[in-house]
Symmetry: C2
């Protein structure tokens, strides 16, 4: 682990720099797959399933029967946990509904917004040995609350041509309309452009490997909306004497087990905390199933000793962490001053894991510094806000002449005429 | 003008298709300019001003003196109109502030969101003979309300090395922090990457020609957020017997004067309305200063006769117009059912021009069908919402075990440990 003691503010940029990945050559490969899906539709998807997923599918769609079977393959214990998570996520995201009331910006000029669901959305859930049912909950729950009319989900099949039952269980619990056995960049291409089986959607969401990420960025160039740009997961922890070394180490390792490129950054008030955390890290790492991955990730992690609260804050806002754990005493004051972060976890008893699964906040968050400009997924992600205006005679009489002046100054005489022709009549 | 009578719903896709522009070769050229700005900074900007704007600049920044001078060059009449517009835009966008209150998703588990401004934003305002001060108001006003700490503006200088005084007036009225004499894709590159003079921003907003648009899409690929993808401006008008042909024609021409690629689509209940509109179009076109442009645009415009309200609605939602003017009788009911549109103008007395300048709604809207997934610019465009959670002992006791089960099912044992280690202590 890299350790820095009270660095100068001028070095923050260098110190907090994220690794940069080369994407150009990847883009060409992924664009080829996208083109293949555009040209050959379902045929391409069957072929690519053979090539990449090593499976010969009879159908791209998960059948009703497969979904019903999955209900028996998930333990009651896990079902109940998933239901709890769903309840909390639903409760928090339902509270994000906007109530818009008309505003009279001047007499006779009424403006308001109405939220409408994005009608068709596509969710991507990565495959692999572990089933990411939590991401199904995080994406489908707000989509359902928003009222999206068509919610489809793609996930790569395993070698038996199946999708993990826990994913199917979560999808049917929330109300996903159709599930497809399609993985990788071909899934993104299918949802962006549509095929015989897969409906074209307006927005695509969800995590994925570098191929999926590249495909999402490429289809975005052609007008399909995406949730946000992706990057490796990361956590920043700010700790002082009120924190507990074993908790901090556990939180760092939870981040580190995601992958060797995950980042865990510790900002603590003194060297003693850092030493205790290191000791705990060693102890906890030893018994971790994914210790290979986690230890590599921890190796290139960063710890900064900085006693000054304002500088700690500057470091946080400079880094703009995806996850920010604050194990400090004056936590409310500090939280108020954080301007760049995806999600904040307050105090010793709020580990990131809770938000990853079930506190109710969304775990799809801006990483890689994107928290400077992006929010995490929320109800907002699934709605558009249409503005509406209605002007009365009185309103037009007052506002019209002003608009005529401005339209003329911008040399848009037809814009002016559209007002003048009405003013003459009233 | 293309005219279609009661088309079959199966033909809507073909009928309402927008023209597609080839962008690949443009991207290469624009990427070169971006690279030049990254490598040479200010030097590149001075050189490109010579090359494209035909001016040898002494400074990239607009001086205090230039801004003060501009105040004397704008007529009091125009100043007053701009102030009215600013007032209405400010009033409407201020009403978009979100008040977030903590939600207890289950006992002891508190979640909430806080809105924070994107700290650094860059606005682009195109040049040309007509000064687009209205766009300055539309972008800078919500940025200011959001509390963005650094709001910069780039606009190409004229051959005298000046920016139009109306743009400078609007910028200082709203409170833009710094104005630069930089145009085209080099302006986007400078704001995305930063130079000696131009600060790097997190999000770039504003309209522009195809070079600007291409540059925005390219810097987005590298992580700079943008307002939305761009396309030619467009209006759809739904009209029945309650409408007035002269108003409809005026509104279509207001759209048509923007450029030869602008689209005006009329959906009306019967042939008689269409005939009257055509007659009016001819009459009004004849006296329009931009009749060359407008008549070309009108030529490739589309009119659809469709008496059925449900089918009219289907056409609207299929096209997803940037601007939607509803001059019909049962307008509230119709408005409720619109799901895809940028901004709606209700009734005979609400021409699009009012919203373009001064009703209070934003005129930066999703075009080219992007209203299916994107909203127009609003206060939301300039804020991020950070989620926050705080869990009590009781909350952790109840929720912790559920999270342990899910983390284990996803094979993320360090995630589980972060909960277990705390549960042991309480």
């Amino acid at each position: 682990m890299k350790k820095i003691i009270t660095p100068d503010a001028s070095s923050y940029s260098e110190l907090l720099k994220r690794p940069v990945f080369e994407t150009k050559s990847l883009n060409d490969k992924v664009q080829e797959i996208i083109n293949q899906v555009i040209e050959q539709g379902d045929d391409a998807l069957f072929e690519l399933a053979k090539k990449f997923d090593k499976v010969s599918l009879s159908s791209l769609v998960v059948s009703e029967q497969e979904i019903e079977e999955s209900l028996n393959l998930v333990s009651d214990e896990l079902k109940s946990a998933i239901q709890t998570a769903h309840h909390n996520i639903k409760t928090f995201h339902e509270s994000q509904r906007e109530i818009s009331k008309p505003i009279e910006t001047q007499t006779g000029v009424l403006c308001w917004r109405k939220s409408t669901a994005i009608q068709k959305v596509g969710l991507y859930i990565p495959g692999g040995t572990a089933p990411l049912f939590s991401t199904v909950l995080m994406l489908a729950t707000p989509a359902k609350i928003a009222g999206c009319q068509e919610i489809i989900l793609c996930s790569p099949p395993n070698k038996e041509g199946k999708i993990h039952p826990a994913i199917l269980y979560a999808a049917q619990l929330v109300g996903v309309h159709k599930i497809f056995k399609i993985g990788g960049s071909q899934a993104i291409a299918a949802m962006a452009h549509g095929t015989q089986s897969v409906p074209k959607v307006y927005k695509i969401l969800g995590p994925g490997n570098q191929f999926v990420t590249a495909a999402k960025m490429l289809v975005q160039q052609n007008g399909t909306a995406i949730d946000m740009p992706a990057g490796p997961s990361e956590v920043m922890i700010v700790a002082d004497e009120s924190s507990k070394a074993s908790y901090i180490a556990a939180d760092m390792l939870a981040q580190a087990e995601h992958g060797v490129d995950s980042q865990a950054v510790l900002v603590c008030s003194n060297q003693k905390i850092l030493d205790s955390v290191e000791e705990e890290l060693e102890k906890q790492l030893a018994v971790l199933p994914r210790k290979e991955i986690a230890s590599q990730s921890i190796q290139h992690s960063l710890s900064i000793v900085e006693p000054d609260r304002n500088k700690q804050l500057e470091i946080v806002n400079h880094y703009a962490p995806e996850h920010l754990i604050l194990s400090i005493e004056d936590v409310e004051e500090f939280t108020d001053k954080v301007v760049n972060a995806g999600s904040i976890f307050i105090g010793n008893l709020t580990p990131e894991s809770l938000g990853d699964y079930a506190s109710g906040t969304n775990h799809t968050l801006p990483t890689n510094g994107f928290a400077t400009a992006y929010s995490g997924v929320s109800l907002d992600t699934f709605v558009k806000k249409i503005t509406i205006q209605k002007v009365t005679k009185e309103g037009l009489k007052k506002l019209g002449p002003q608009v005529e002046i401005m339209a003329e100054a911008e040399e848009l005489i037809a814009h002016k005429n559209a007002v003048s022709i009405r003013l003459k009549d009233i």
